[in-house]
């Protein structure tokens, strides 16, 4: 994805590129998601986050008071571009920095921003996201985790599920329902080391265990850890997730294009017909162009509207199809996971998550139909 960059962003990109060349250890390059030991994987991503932070490279688009460089979103894209091209791992706090931090800057108090953003960036605190519950997946409205007010604190009980990296996290941005008030859905910061927090890893489709169940039994949350006020939960969460739709998507689209190049090179080397990736190539161009269109819209300060769910569907389903093509092209070489294919096999298995998290494909289609003005499916 060639992006038009401002002079400052371009300078940042060039410096970052040489820094990465020098500092990114070879064994950290192109490590696929979910490979090897979970703790080791997290350690690598955390250490990489620390290194990037020490170098001053993280979050170039954040204001300087929060540890950024005060550059535009184009610098953030340059960051993604350089790291994806180098095959670098994502820094551990990608989720917290991409989703929660913008919401905290928009809705949080100054004290909260000071308390949390620095350690997040420095990778002293690892963050996880506590939205989904056993009874509240696509329908977050089914949220049942209760927060009972008790003086200058809340007592929180309930269960979260699919909480990525909860086992390794110090902090969680958590959606709860405050009792005793109408529309009490609220976002709070949970300290994972508080008594009453129990984390149980779940083994996922790839065999790794990075997402977890989180059980909350009378856990204390301080009143000054409410983000945006009691009852503002939907507003804060919606804002947070919307930020994710531009840069988060950009990063994944960049990765899809890079993977296509790598797959193509590998298939070609192994003597496969160059034609097998034609459909995948076409799709990758469509995904890349659509994501760029979303970014251009956002950069102009406009809402992407229907284009956001369109891009999510095209990217996630396109990525799955791209990786599945490998199985069809190289057959048992891939499914038997011999040679250099086992990483791809794991990536393929992991890609099934992409049409589920961040709003399932069905939910995205509901959103598109709604934007088109089709009648509601609620009768």
């Amino acid at each position: 994805m060639d992006l038009a960059l401002s002079g400052e962003a371009a300078a940042y990109r060039d410096q970052l590129r040489s820094w990465v060349e020098e500092h990114l250890p070879a064994q950290w390059r192109d490590v696929p998601v979910g490979s090897g030991d979970d703790a080791e994987y997290v350690r690598m991503r955390r250490e990489w986050g620390r290194m990037l932070h020490r170098g001053g490279w993280l979050a170039p688009h954040w204001p300087t008071i929060h540890g950024g460089r005060g550059l535009g979103v184009d610098a953030q894209l340059a960051f993604l571009d350089v790291l994806v091209a180098a095959g670098a791992p994502e820094q551990m706090n990608t989720n917290g920095m991409g989703i929660f931090a913008p919401a905290l800057m928009a809705f949080g108090t100054e004290a909260q921003q000071d308390r949390y953003l620095g350690p997040m960036l420095a990778h002293d605190d690892i963050w996880c996201q506590g939205f989904s519950e056993p009874g509240a997946g696509s329908d977050l409205g089914g949220l049942a985790t209760r927060a009972v007010p008790d003086g200058d604190r809340f007592v929180v009980s309930g269960q979260k599920v699919w909480t990525s990296y909860a086992l390794f996290a110090q902090r969680c941005y958590l959606m709860v329902r405050v009792t005793g008030v109408a529309n009490g859905v609220t976002m709070v910061v949970l300290h994972m080391d508080r008594p009453g927090v129990t984390v149980r890893p779940l083994r996922n489709i790839t065999g790794s265990s990075e997402f977890c169940e989180v059980f909350l039994d009378d856990v204390t949350v301080d009143a000054d850890d409410v983000v945006g006020g009691i009852g503002a939960g939907w507003r804060v969460a919606t804002y947070a997730l919307a930020r994710e739709r531009s840069t988060g998507l950009a990063q994944r689209a960049l990765q899809l294009s890079r993977e296509l190049e790598l797959m193509n090179a590998q298939l070609h080397r192994d003597g496969h017909d160059d034609g097998v990736l034609v459909e995948a190539f076409v799709r990758s161009r469509v995904v890349d162009s659509t994501v760029r269109r979303v970014l251009a819209t956002v950069a102009d300060g406009d809402e992407p509207g229907m284009l956001a769910p369109v891009a999510k569907v095209l990217w996630s389903e396109g990525h799955q199809a791209q990786l599945t093509t490998l199985v069809e092209a190289a057959g048992p070489e891939v499914t038997g996971a011999g040679g250099g294919w086992s990483d791809w096999l794991r990536a393929l298995l992991f890609s099934r998550a992409e049409t589920i998290y961040g709003g399932t494909s069905e939910i995205q289609r509901n959103l598109i139909a709604k934007s088109l003005g089709m009648p509601s499916d609620r009768g």
């Binding site: 034609v278 799709r283 469509v286 162009s289 284009l307 095209l314 139909a369 088109l372 009648p375």
Partner: protein, 393 residues
Amino acid sequence: MDYRIDDETAALRSALLEFLRERMPDPGTEPAHAVRRTAWRELVGSEWLEHFATGTERNADPAARVAALHVAEAFGAAPVTGPVDGVAGYLLPLALATGWNAGLAGLRDGSLVTTLVPEIDTPGPDAVPRRRARRLAAVRDGHELRVSGVMSQVACAAGADAVVVAVEIDGRPGLAFVELGRAGVVVGEPSGVDLRRPVADVTLDGVAIDAASVHAPRDLLEHEDACAAGHSLFLDAEAVGGSAEVIARTVAYCTDRVQFGRPIGSFQAVRHRVADVTAKVEGARSLAYRVAWDLATAAPGAPADVVASRLWSSGAYLAAGEAAVQCHGGAGFTWEQGVHLFYRAALSGRGGAGLGAARIALAAHLGALADPTPPGPDAERAAEPVGAIDGAR
């Protein structure tokens, strides 16, 4: 790059759409020959056909090229009987780019002129996709040339005034403007699925043309290739415009039509089918805009992306047409309802996309990406357009 469509461009597109809806007969009504001719003359006189060419001029601002594509979507949304794509998407840009004044005069005087647009060629050593015309041989006969050969499936040839023929004289490529009334020209019966553009074979049997009238600029092949790529994008724009139109009609129909006590558009099976094709079509729009931009800036991957864009947008249009017919139920199967017109256009676009050649071209592109070692002893030739006729340069 800037994908944003400014207000001025959006207004132009609306104005064109309004003009086409008001002034052009609906191809679905199978308008009589005289009606079609009158409408065509008005369209040519309106200068709307020229708009696309403004974006394709050399050194045009990339944003202008994207804007021209956006405006061209109107031709898909309000289908017109006549060789709109061939004239607006190919012949006018080609005549302008190569300074073919006689050709321009013929295209602008209200005549109905058609042609065969060059198709994707076998990939050459540099694996950059190119398009090449199939040329008819022109043999010298005194001051005249005699042109013979068959042009198969020429859009709107039945009832046209003239055809632009790609010829080869003394091994050099040229273009000839051939009136269909000339001795030796036989135009076959019109046929084909697309009501806008029925096709017919044009057979030339020793047709005499004035040698001096043949347009043979030195860089003709290059321009033909570039303009044919532009034409491919024009077809993408038509596909996006046509898709958006059938989707809008489907949304409206599914909102009004009630079954089981509720609008059929509230059933998720219907909603999702429409959402699905919408995602495909928006993807098509994204890629087409991007390629228009990249062509204008001569980005290295642009020729391959043109091919990718045609593959995707022709498939997206077909999917939209299929969904529209299905979601209209029995009504969608009627002639009267009108969605079949778009479905037919989509079928014809898909068939015309040259899927086989396109896939071969992209496979070659992927091969070159995987293995960017420069070609061996043939390296010299890589710079030359593939299929250049010996002696042309």
